[in-house]
Symmetry: C2
Subunit: 334 residues, 2 copies
DNA sequence: TTGTATGCGTTATCAA
DNA sequence: TTGATAACGCATACAA
C-alpha cells in the first residue's frame, strides 16, 4: 500500500503539495497537479481514511439505529434520510438495536469513539436521562418517539393522539369490548400508543379488561401466538387494536385460524401502514405516518447539529393520517 | 474531551501504562490498574477510536452490501452473519447499493480507505474483473451469486438449477405457455435464474415467446405494473415464473385486478421464500434458500480472510428447497 | 511492573 | 506556489 510520501516522491514534490491536490485546493499549479495525479494513478494510491479521519476527527458517516432490520416501515424513512445527507457527502450506516437497551447503549460508544459524526435513533430504548446526556454532548436526533419527560429535539407524530383517534373510530362503530396488542414496553412509542388507547376508552366510559391487554414482540409471529393463546382461553372481544401493523396481521391470522372472520366477527386495526398492510387480505385499517418527511426532517436536524448548531430541544410533531380499509369493517371502496 | 495523557496525569502514571490497562494487558499491578480505572471514570474518558483504528489499522467493522434495504429476504441472513461476527467483537454496518453498479463501486472505497475490515456483498453488480481485483487485494466475500466467469470465493445456491427445477415443476403440471418476470439485468443472479428457466423450456422443446419475458424492478409494484401492461396488450399464458417473490406477488395482484384468478386461471411461482410469501393469499410456491446458513458461512469465510487466509476462490454451493404452496395450483396441505 | 520514545498517514501552520 | 515540520491520540518496542 502506497502512502502520501510515495506519491510525493514519485511526483517530485512535497507531501504538503500532494495533500493540497487531494483536498482540491486551488493553490497548486496545473502542471504539478497533473504530475501528482499521474503519480496517484500510477501507484494506485488511495488516501488512508483512517489517517484522514484521525487527523480531521470527522468521518462523514451517520449511524442510523433501528429497532429491527427488515421492517419495511423504515425503508422509506431511510430513503428520506439519504436524500438529504448523500448530497452533502455523508453516508448512512444502519444497525439494529434489536430493541435491547443494553445493545443500544453500546452503539452510542461508536459515536463517543468518533467512528460516526452523528446518530439518528428510531429505537430510543434508553432511559430519558441517559438519552439527554448523549443528546447534550453529541449530535443525536431521536425520531418517531415523543419524549415527554425532559427536553429533546425529536421528530415524530403524536403517537398517543393517533392511537386515541383510531380507537375512537372503533368506538364510533359501536364496539365496546376491546383487545389491545402492545409492542415491547422497552420501546416507549408502544407505551404512548397504549396510553392513547386507554384514554379513548376512558373518555367514553368503556371498561378496560386488563386481561385483554397483551405485550408481544412486534412481529407477525408475536401477534399470532399471543392472540391464539388468548382465544384458546375463551376470551371474547369484538375489536382488536394493535400497536403495529405486523402485530395486527398476526392477530388476524390467529383469529382466522380460530375460525373467526375479520372484520365480520372482529374488527382489527394496526399502526404504521407498512407495505404489507394494503396487500394483505383483508387490507388493514391503520395509521399512516409521513415516513419520507420523518426521514428528511431528522436528517436536516442532524446535519444542523453536526454543523455546530445547539440542540434546540424542540419537538417537531408531524401529521398522520387514518387509513380506513377492510379490516375495521367499515370499508368504503375508493 | 480528555485523552490518554489526561488519564495518565490524573492517575500519576505514564501513558504506556494507561494503554496497557485499556488493552487489558496482565502486566499491570492491581493497584495501579485501579488507580487508572478510577481516573478513567472520573474524567469520563473514552479512547478515541479514530486514533486507535489509525494506529492499529483495524476497525472491527464489517460492511454488508445489500441490493436493497427493507427486503425481508436478507433479515435472516444478517442474523446469521451477526451470530458469527459479534462474538468476535465485530460489528456489521449495512448499506444499500440500490442495485446501481456505480454506487456499489463507490462502496469499495470504504474498504480501500480502511474504514471497515472486510465486505460481504449480496449485490455484486460490478463486472467480474473488477470484483476479482478487489477480492484479490482485500477481504471480500460474494454471496448469493455464483460467478461462473473467473474464480471467486462465494456462497450461494445454484440459482440456475433452482430456477430450472421450479420451471420443470410447472412443466410437469402440463403448462406450455409461460410468462417470465426477471429482475434487473444488472444483478447477475436474476440472469442466472432466467437462464435456468430458458434451459428448462428448451429441454422440453417448449417454445419461448420473448414478448412474455419481462425485465422489472424487483418490487411488488414492478411486478404489478409490468404484468398489467402485458395483460392489457392481450397476452395469454397459463403459468408465470418470477425471479423473486415480490415480483410474483405483484404479478398475482395484477392478474386478479385483470379478473384472472390464481392458480385456477394462471399458476404463479416465485423465488426466495420471503416472509410475505407464506402469508399472502394465495400462498406462494417458491424456492427457499438456507438464509441463516448463507449468512453464517459468508461470515466465517470473511473472518478467515480478515485473519489473513488466502482467498481459496472455491464456490460453496448450498442446498435449496422447493416450497409448494397454493399459487402453483398443486397445493397439498401439509 | 513501569516509563520513554517512536511512528502510524494525514492535515495544517508557518515560512520561504 | 511550494516545502519543512508539528501535531492529532494511541500502541508498542525497548529500556529501565
Amino acid at each position: 500500500m502506497s502512502n502520501i510520501h510515495d506519491v510525493a516522491q514519485c511526483a517530485g514534490v512535497s507531501i504538503a503539495t500532494v495533500s493540497r491536490v487531494l483536498q482540491g485546493s486551488p493553490k497548486v499549479s496545473p502542471k504539478t497537479r497533473n504530475r501528482i495525479n499521474e503519480a496517484i494513478k500510477e501507484l494506485n494510491y488511495h488516501p488512508n481514511k483512517l489517517a484522514q479521519n484521525f487527523r480531521t476527527q470527522k468521518t462523514y458517516n451517520i449511524l442510523i439505529i433501528l429497532p429491527e432490520l427488515g421492517n419495511t416501515f423504515y425503508t422509506e424513512i431511510l430513503a428520506g434520510i439519504e436524500s438529504v445527507v448523500n448530497p452533502q457527502g455523508y453516508r448512512i450506516l444502519v444497525v439494529s438495536s434489536h430493541g435491547q437497551p443494553a445493545l443500544e447503549a453500546s452503539l452510542y460508544s461508536i459515536l463517543e469513539e468518533k467512528q460516526v459524526d452523528g446518530i439518528i435513533t428510531f429505537s430510543a430504548s434508553l432511559p430519558a436521562e441517559t438519552m439527554y446526556q448523549y443528546a447534550n454532548q453529541y449530535p443525536v436526533v431521536i425520531a418517531c418517539r415523543r419524549i415527554q419527560e425532559g427536553n429533546f429535539s425529536n421528530i415524530a407524530i403524536d403517537n398517543e393522539k393517533a392511537s386515541f383517534d383510531i380507537t375512537n373510530y372503533l368506538l364510533n362503530l359501536g364496539h365496546k369490548r376491546f383487545c389491545y396488542l402492545a409492542g415491547p414496553s422497552e420501546l416507549p412509542l408502544y407505551n404512548d400508543r397504549l396510553l392513547g388507547f386507554r384514554k379513548a376508552l376512558k373518555k367514553r366510559n368503556v371498561a378496560i379488561d386488563e386481561n385483554l391487554i397483551l405485550r408481544c414482540e412486534s412481529t407477525i409471529q408475536g401477534g399470532y401466538d399471543n392472540v391464539l393463546k388468548l382465544l384458546n382461553r375463551g376470551a371474547r372481544f369484538s375489536a382488536l387494536v394493535a400497536g403495529g401493523d405486523t402485530l395486527a396481521i398476526g392477530a388476524i391470522r390467529a383469529l382466522n385460524r380460530f375460525g373467526r372472520s375479520v372484520p365480520s366477527e372482529c374488527a382489527v386495526v394496526g399502526f404504521d401502514d407498512i407495505e404489507l398492510s394494503s396487500i394483505f387480505s383483508p387490507s388493514l385499517t391503520t395509521v399512516r405516518q409521513p415516513q419520507r418527511e420523518i426521514g428528511i426532517r431528522s436528517a436536516e436536524q442532524l446535519l444542523d447539529l453536526i454543523g455546530g448548531a445547539k440542540p434546540t430541544f424542540s419537538t417537531e410533531i408531524l401529521d398522520y393520517e387514518l387509513v380506513i380499509r377492510e379490516s375495521s369493517g367499515d370499508f368504503r371502496p375508493e
